[in-house]
């Protein structure tokens, strides 16, 4: 290999400031008289010029085949932050020897040498603590090696896509196997720039020509690329590789690191896939993790890692410097549960284990009853079986089983043994579901045939267990290791042999990962602890009286699964759960009859809005006996999406003795508020002089489980003169959908919006102030899964022991303490004259007879956005057009604030699942195109 001295990079590389570059001559340890020139980027001089003292140093190590150029945005962001008064971080980004613009040493530098090289450099720089290491790719390994060896200086570790461990017998990623193949290595990495080009093409979105030029700058000729080949050759694919011991030393050393750690990850990485992230998390379980969905190997180019890093450092530097919160140790689980004020989810499975009362009824295909005794036994058997095949506490088990007795038994078995259940709704669509399941990295997948086929076809991770028995070839094809029946047998054998189930999980142990609807970007995994899930069931008990002896008809899965936790008898009605609109009134009546059972106890019915629509539509088929059964319903709920007051009223007519409820909540906080049909009418009456006759709130908020329409039935209102509007705006300035008062254990606060639309106000209950809805309850989620940034953004409030969740919904409280939802935070229109929330204007527009549904969106830059109404008309339009003058004038008159344009569309884009949540963000982009003079397309 060729030797060459270190040089400065050429000027004019995009994003690189020449003043950062310096050359450092470093003596090589263990080789007296040998020195090497290093090129490093260093913003120290810039910080000096600003007159600020750094709080610490971020030592950045690039991988292969990049160079310190990778870290340019962190250098500029750190200097900018210091300039704006934030804590100053010195950033030193090195070019490893034989790489970038550092010297070409002419020799081969295995991992151990590289780790020492970095130490030699920091010695030469006289680097003092605190130091945060930051590494990417094989630079991650080198930086971790330095971290392990310099615990005296180390105060934190940051890593981007990297790996410290190659499991024995596990293959290295295919792209690297190819590069390492005999005869390929030299040509691919050194003789041609192919390896470099391939790496640069991994960026999402593609790199600009200028940035690619920046990366290529030090590797223009083959004699400059020797280090690239050397790095690839140093990948310890075999146990006998010379760098293997050093890699193992670092990997084990990482386990001993207790400093705060941040792992930022791009999942679209063909080399460092999520399994390496899992390995790192396993070694450093205290690490904060954020997976940037859509980003890949070149995370530093794909995502704003610099902002994330500085944010994390800022947090860490806050009150307790760089201290991670430590889980407070609790005593015995029993005591912990007592302290938590709830029962564990399996409480009634123990208490009723000798009861022959019915616990579950599956109405499909024929009514099948499962007693508490049987359910309890099955849960123990399956739990023991899962333990037998290797499921450990904390393992993740993805459940791809339709709602049924099987799902219930498997779910309770998993939570009882401390496994974490992963529940994603088929409503995400296959692509969304794939992303969700992959991201949730299940160790096991328990599925019915469709789920297992999807898992097979799309390569979802995890060992596969089938609820049904397949013919052997089919089982092999699907990669099924066990069936549920086998698990039961294995578990029974284990129990009979005297092996008990593992200790019960504690309230603070994670219990479930539930996925959000995905209607606002990629679905997010939401982690609930046992204590929090139990608190959900307690909230259901407190709000709706669901408990021992209650029948629970479950047309809406999330709540239905909690039936056994409440001691209630759960009935799954005859319906295709993936298509709720298949539920008929007759099927509901049959389920209610089954739920009432022998004790004729109280019955609660949970339905989704789509199901409710069909139940009302098929009511004519009800027989007298069905009506009698439905008359026994005590309560029913419509949850999942907004429905109109009239639909709720029609359903109530079918269940004459039932109270109709609609809860408000989201995956992150089920059951935050609740309103009854009477409550809806009262709320409507409170604003009865609002001229919004028949305002059916078709609108839905993506995160809300439910909203109900507010309807004023007053004909006088419809006839009211414009003058009346002004008194209205004083009464209810923002409009919105009333979702009622907070549930028993929930606190709801509003954080007022500032002029830029940011929710910065103090948490407040002041009436008629519009802001972000912030909630706190024992049953609010614990955290987002591997989405540290999202989690951080969703948290609010700094009071010790309180968890406040930003819902992303915007609304206000009224003087009676009722919550009114006005839209989603990203849909708030920020005009030059202030913020406008969409639901109020939409309700007012929808009060026009010629409009069936409206969306109110902003176009243009935030801060000076224009308001645009997009409407569906009666009768529906056949094509997109500008509203004719009379309609435009009528819309403007109703809205009150300036409306730049009114567009008519055949149909508004809505979510797939509920066909009710309007995609305002998409509409806004579409309207922007139309109103800029662009092509006319469908929204």
């Amino acid at each position: 290999m060729v030797s060459a001295v270190a040089t400065l990079p050429p000027t004019g590389l995009a994003g690189l400031r020449p003043e950062w570059s310096r050359l450092v001559e470093v003596a090589e340890s263990g080789a007296p008289g040998v020195t090497h020139g290093w090129h490093v980027l260093d913003n120290g001089a810039e910080l000096d010029a600003l007159g600020v003292i750094p709080v610490g140093t971020i030592l950045c190590v690039h991988g292969n085949p990049t160079w310190s150029y990778l870290w340019r945005s962190l250098l500029s962001a750190a200097t900018d932050a210091a300039q704006s008064g934030a804590p100053a971080w010195r950033v030193i980004a090195v070019d490893q020897l034989d790489m970038g613009f550092s010297a070409r040493t002419g020799g081969f530098r295995p991992l151990a040498r590289r780790v020492r090289d970095l130490g030699d450099l920091t010695d030469a720089l006289d680097l003092t603590g605190p130091v945060i290491t930051l590494g990417h790719d094989w630079g991650g390994v080198v930086s971790l090696g330095w971290a392990v060896d310099h615990s005296d200086l180390l105060s934190g570790v940051m890593l981007l896509n990297t790996a410290v461990h190659q499991p024995a017998g596990d293959q290295v990623p295919a792209p690297l196997r190819l590069a390492l193949a005999r005869g390929i290595l030299g040509p691919a990495t050194v003789a041609t720039p192919a390896f470099l080009a391939t790496t640069l093409n991994l960026a999402h979105p593609p790199l600009s020509t200028e940035v690619k030029r920046g990366y290529r700058a030090p590797y223009r000729t083959s004699d400059r690329r020797g280090g690239i080949g050397g790095f690839v050759a140093d990948i310890p694919v075999a146990l006998t590789h010379e760098s293997r011991p050093e890699l193992d030393r670092i990997a084990e050393g990482a386990r001993a690191l207790t400093v705060p750690t941040l792992l930022l990850w791009g999942p679209r990485d063909p080399i460092f896939s999520d399994r390496y992230l899992d390995d790192l998390v396993e070694r450093m379980p205290h690490a904060r993790v954020h997976r940037f969905e859509g980003a890949g190997h070149l995370l530093a180019e794909d995502a704003d890692y610099a902002a994330a890093a500085l944010l994390w450092l800022g947090d860490a530097a806050a009150p307790a410097p760089l201290a991670e919160p430590v889980e407070t140790a609790v005593g015995a689980p029993a005591a912990a549960w007592e302290a938590a004020g709830t029962h564990p989810l399996w409480h009634y499975l123990n208490e009723l284990q000798n009861s022959d009362d019915t616990a579950l009824v599956d109405m499909l295909p024929a009514p099948r009853r499962v007693s508490w005794r049987l359910l309890s036994r099955r849960v123990r058997q399956i739990g023991a079986g899962l333990v037998h095949i290797g499921v450990k506490p904390g393992d993740r088990v993805s459940l791809l089983v339709p709602p049924s007795a099987d799902l219930t038994a498997v779910l309770y078995a998993c939570v009882r043994i401390g496994a974490i259940v992963v529940v994603a709704d088929a409503g995400l669509g296959l692509a969304g579901l794939t992303r969700a399941v992959r991201g949730a990295r299940p160790d096991f997948v328990i599925g019915a045939a469709p789920g297992l086929m999807a898992a097979r076809a799309l390569g979802w991770p995890g060992r596969k267990i089938s609820v049904a028995r397949f013919p052997a070839p089919m089982a092999r094809l699907l990669g099924v290791e066990h069936t549920l029946a086998e698990l039961i047998d294995l578990g029974q054998a284990r129990l009979s042999a005297g092996d008990d189930l593992p200790p019960e999980p504690a309230p603070s142990d994670p219990a479930a990962v539930l996925f959000t609807s995905g209607s606002t970007g990629p679905a997010k995994g939401v982690v609930y602890t046992h204590g929090q899930l139990s608190a959900v069931s307690r909230a259901l008990f407190l709000q709706y009286g669901v408990g021992v002896g209650t029948g629970l008809v479950a047309g809406f899965a999330p709540f239905a699964l909690l039936g056994p936790a409440l001691g209630a008898r759960s009935v799954t009605p005859d319906m295709d759960v993936t298509a709720p609109k298949t539920l008929t009134a007759t099927a509901v009546a049959a389920a209610v009859a089954a739920a009432a059972g022998e004790t004729r106890g109280a019955t609660v019915v949970f339905l989704s809005p789509a199901a409710l629509v069909n139940v009302v539509a098929t009511a004519a088929a009800l027989e007298p006996a069905d009506h009698a059964a439905l008359a026994g319903v005590q309560r029913f709920l419509s949850a999942g999406a907004p429905i109109s007051e009239s639909l709720l009223a029609q359903a109530a007519a079918l269940m004459p003795h039932a109270t109709a409820h609609t809860p408000y909540g989201m995956t992150e906080g089920l059951l935050m508020a609740d309103i009854t049909l009477d409550g809806i009418r009262e709320a409507a009456a409170s604003i009865a002089n609002v001229p919004t006759a028949d305002a059916a709130a078709h609108d839905g908020e993506s995160a809300t489980l439910l909203q109900t329409a507010v309807s004023t039935s007053s004909a006088a209102a419809a006839a009211s003169a414009p003058a009346a509007r002004e008194s209205v705006s004083a009464l209810n300035p923002a409009g919105g959908v009333c979702v009622g008062g907070s549930t028993a254990t929930t606190r709801i606060r509003i954080s007022a919006l500032d002029a830029s639309g940011a929710s910065v106000g103090e948490l407040s209950v002041e009436p008629d102030v519009t802001g972000e809805i912030v909630v706190s309850a024992p049953h609010v989620k614990d955290h987002y899964d591997r989405l540290w940034l999202t989690e951080r953004a969703s948290r609010r409030g700094a009071v010790e022991g309180e968890r406040w969740h930003r819902t992303g919904d915007v609304g206000h409280l009224d003087s009676a303490g009722r919550l009114w939802v006005e839209g989603r935070m990203p849909h708030v229109i920020v005009t030059a004259d202030g913020v406008v929330t969409p639901v109020g204007p939409e309700q007012r527009i929808e009060s026009l007879a010629e409009v069936s549904r409206a969306a109110f969106v902003g176009v243009g830059p935030v801060g000076t956005q224009q308001q645009v109404a997009v409407v569906e008309t009666v009768p529906p339009a056949r094509r997109v057009h500008r509203a004719p003058e009379p309609l435009a004038a009528a819309v403007r008159a109703r809205v009150g604030t300036p409306v730049a344009a009114v567009l008519v569309v055949p149909g508004l884009p809505t979510d797939i699942r509920h066909n009710s949540k309007i995609d305002r963000s998409r509409l806004s982009r579409w309207a922007t195109g139309i109103l800029s003079g662009g092509r006319w397309t469908q929204p």
Binding site: A832, V859, G860, P861, G863, T864, Q865, Q866, H881, R882, E885, A888, P898, A900, A901, L903, T928, I930, L931, S932, G933, G934, W936
Partner: protein
């Protein structure tokens, strides 16, 4: 304050002179023809000949003035490029120099948003620097150069501010309103594209009050450019319909694809250049772009810095226009 308003015989110039005069300032007007305004001192002459006649015309007009509002310009869609250059660039240079020499301390240059418009949609951007290289057409190019040279003259004791009212209209406007109405009446006003491009305009009284506000704010905001609009963008078809409705003529209801109009505009423009007549060509590329792409602006800086808000809404403007046509 003693204020000279150049180009006061024009539609906007007249409104500006009247607005400033109504506030109690001493207003002198300067243009080729009588301004027709009362209560002002009317001086006639050309903005291009200050040096030749030191005791009359422009030199006289600027003498003793505290402030100058310079509106005089050649405003046209087509014409002799040399004439645009002479009037808009040469004339502005002459007026700036004469004003500076005469000891004027405030100078408001009335410019146009087209000085920073390269043809793409403008959706909510603030005033960008004038760019003669990218401006479309002789008018915009020469106004851009004139704005740059006026702002370059900004110095201690000589505060220069540029204001760019966008599409000024109102009763009595011959530039925009009369043409729209005339063409609509003759059935020669098509909609370009779907007529959905959002366009912001400026009712004449708002433009005048904004220029007045810039004059008052001159010492605070000198060296800056501000776009002036009503801040009420509407689809261009709605604007045309509003104007036609006010004038009692049928709004355009036939459509030309925007791209075809732009192409046709280029051709027509080229022909007109060779065979200049007194009439304006029915379509120019510039006009086609103006009428088929969005033009609306961020008014926050304008309103905050100038401490000004428009007082006449778009709808009120249409009502006044209708009253003008049907008294």
């Amino acid at each position: 304050m003693r204020v000279l308003v150049t180009g006061a015989s024009g539609f906007l110039g007249r409104a500006v002179a009247a607005d400033i005069s109504a506030a109690g300032h001493e207003v002198r007007t300067f243009q080729r023809r009588p301004s027709g305004l009362t209560g002002v001192e009317d001086v006639h002459g050309s903005i291009m000949t200050a040096a030749d006649t030191p005791y009359a015309g422009l030199a006289y007009a600027v003498s003793g003035m505290d402030a100058v509002v310079h509106l005089a310009a050649k405003v046209s869609l087509t014409g002799d490029p040399a004439e645009f250059e002479a009037v808009n660039v040469g004339g502005t240079r002459t007026v700036v120099q004469a004003s500076h020499t005469a000891g004027v301390s405030r100078f408001v240059y009335v410019s146009s948003p087209s000085v920073a418009h390269a043809g793409a949609s403008i959706m909510g951007s603030d005033a960008l620097p004038a760019s003669p290289e990218h401006a479309r057409g002789d008018y915009a190019r020469t106004k851009a150069r004139a704005e740059l040279l006026a702002l370059a003259a900004d110095a201690p004791g000589f505060s220069v501010v540029a204001v760019r009212p966008h599409l000024v209209w109102g009763p009595g406007d011959t530039q925009l309103i009369d043409r729209v109405v005339d063409r609509a009446r003759r059935g020669r006003l098509p909609l370009l594209g779907h007529g959905a491009a959002l366009i912001d305009t400026t009712y004449v009284e708002n433009a005048a009050s904004a220029i007045h506000a810039a004059l008052d704010a001159c010492d605070r905001v000198h060296g800056q450019s501000y776009v002036i609009t009503n801040g009420e963008p509407r689809p261009v078809a709605e604007l045309l319909a509003g104007i036609c409705g006010a004038a009692g003529v049928t709004a355009p209801n036939w459509r030309v694809p925007a791209s075809a109009a732009r192409a046709a505009g280029s051709v027509i423009e080229a022909i007109w250049r060779r065979r200049p007549g007194t009439d304006e060509p029915p379509m120019t590329r510039f006009l086609a772009e103006q009428l088929s792409t969005a033009h609306w602006f961020d008014q926050r800086r304008t309103r905050a810095d100038l401490r000004w808000t428009p007082s006449v809404s778009l709808d009120e403007g249409f009502r006044r226009l209708a009253a003008h046509y049907r008294p």
